[in-house]
Symmetry: C2
Subunit: 344 residues, 2 copies
Amino acid sequence: MNFNSLTIKDIARELGLSISTVSKALSDSYEISEKTKKLVNEYAEKHNYSPNPIAKSLKQGHSKSIGIVVSTIDNSFFSQVISGIESVAYAKGYNIMITQTHESYDLEVRNVKHLTYRSVDGILISLSAETQDIEHLKALQRKGLPIVFFDRVSNDLDTHKVIADNYKGAYDGTMQLINSGYKRIAHITSSPNLSISDERLAGYKKALEDSRVPYNEKYTKYCLHGGRDLNEIEAAINDLLTMDNRPDAIFTASDRITTTTLSLLKDLKVKVPQDVALLGFTNAHLAHILNPPLSALVQPGFEIGKAAMEMLISLIESKRPVTEFETKILPTELFIRESSIRPK
Amino acid sequence: MNFNSLTIKDIARELGLSISTVSKALSDSYEISEKTKKLVNEYAEKHNYSPNPIAKSLKQGHSKSIGIVVSTIDNSFFSQVISGIESVAYAKGYNIMITQTHESYDLEVRNVKHLTYRSVDGILISLSAETQDIEHLKALQRKGLPIVFFDRVSNDLDTHKVIADNYKGAYDGTMQLINSGYKRIAHITSSPNLSISDERLAGYKKALEDSRVPYNEKYTKYCLHGGRDLNEIEAAINDLLTMDNRPDAIFTASDRITTTTLSLLKDLKVKVPQDVALLGFTNAHLAHILNPPLSALVQPGFEIGKAAMEMLISLIESKRPVTEFETKILPTELFIRESSIRPK
DNA sequence: ATGAAAGCGCTAACAC
DNA sequence: GTGTTAGCGCTTTCAT
């Protein structure tokens, strides 16, 4: 498995030096003469030596690599977050490893475990839809593992967090529908376990309240699998479309739910926005060329990733245990397009 | 960094046993009495012991984890491939680590290196658009690292490969345009470094040839950054649209290029398919709800991932060095939609 | 300025 | 059936 078969030991033997001298020469220690350093480094260079970081981290206790846990990478929002993370990670000399939970609690536990096993220095995580208990993370934090939450966070763990302004985003989106003349606004959202679901629901409710539109509980539909399960969304839409006083607009609270809803409405020959308007959270870069162009609440994915990684590094590199934590809230952006504009 | 602070040594001390007895008990060795095993395992259980796999792999020489290198995860095709990989990896007890190159050769080298450093047992890779030299992979293979190529492969390395039937896909797609009545079919593709570009270009040419449509070199445009650079695509489209004998259809050869082309044509108020038809490779799950619905050549991403992982495992678990390699070619699927159908 | 030796957590050959 | 010991590749006291 060591695919860089040349070890420090080999070099020592070849050069007639001791292992420790070679090690020190390689790390440019002041104890070693320039001559020896040169000798060693040239030999290493020539024979393409590279240290085995596994052995190194076993000894040193850090690996300059961090782990990312997201529900799925097949989602522009998370891709953008990851790009943001990479941008600061690479600049600071960290490598990253990405894993997905597919909204499964078990996979989340497994991936977190695996990452710590592979000795990451810290973890950046957005919780899975299934996750309710985060003891697996708490235990790690207690042992000193730096963890930063982004997007889907938990109140049960005190640490740095970065989220979009989901409350205000949902408020703005709902307001746009109301201002456009819609009154019976349904809300399709992910699992109630998720912090983002709460925040978005609250923003939606507040917009209704501020507009004196009564909140109708029947208009809120949960998709426990965060949009991964087509049937759930289909059922939600069917419910909404067949109820008395059927909604004239839908406000969707997650990326996949938003685009899938449009797709399903199309299958059902329900015209958007003539029959039902649609506006929702999505970072899909195709939103503007969909039919109809889709009104979208866009989260600053790249910035969220950047901020989260910066916070993680500050935790990792902090000399003393950090006890003061911060929650960073970044603004969303609303793009108003045809799908939520009431036809004259 | 060891966030599972309890070590085998601690257990040994607590239980008044030797380190090796504990180690053996934990791995259920026949040498150890049931009584001791029970004692040790119960203690381990109770105190939440989990072995440090870093130390383990340092010793054992394998880690039951593999690395994936793709150009970008923000692409349904790669997401699907990764899901396919995961499906077999998890079933076989392997963990995976995902990295992206963003089409950069340097990042590719860096990521491959990092993965081997983190001691993966094998690598699954789709080359970056920039990559021309694959010495970094050859050296690793020589040292015994199992590598399987998928999607973007190289002839310079003899190993297992899994690709879509790009030649036939491109042939079918081009034929569809021709059968639909288009004659001046342009081709926008990625970097000529990429195997997929070659294969798709060849299929395109063959379809023209079989239909007695002369091949016009000016109709083929390369985007060196594989669609990541908007300006490149924009320039290509501008060139095509302003030339004498301007094309009446465009056949695009990569996911991002396909959707971006549609988006740019829309910006330019060029009607699809009235002014220019469009058909291309893409696994975007929104293709059918775009405006117009997009004709798409879809690759079997999940199956490609599955096959690649199976091949990688066979390499990893092979008792003797493997010298006979296989290239698996999986069929693409063509979805004919409005964007490539000539209006009456 | 250089080297010997211990140790990171674990496994495995080899005693006892 | 259990323990001793060496060693994976590297860093780091502590000698010399």
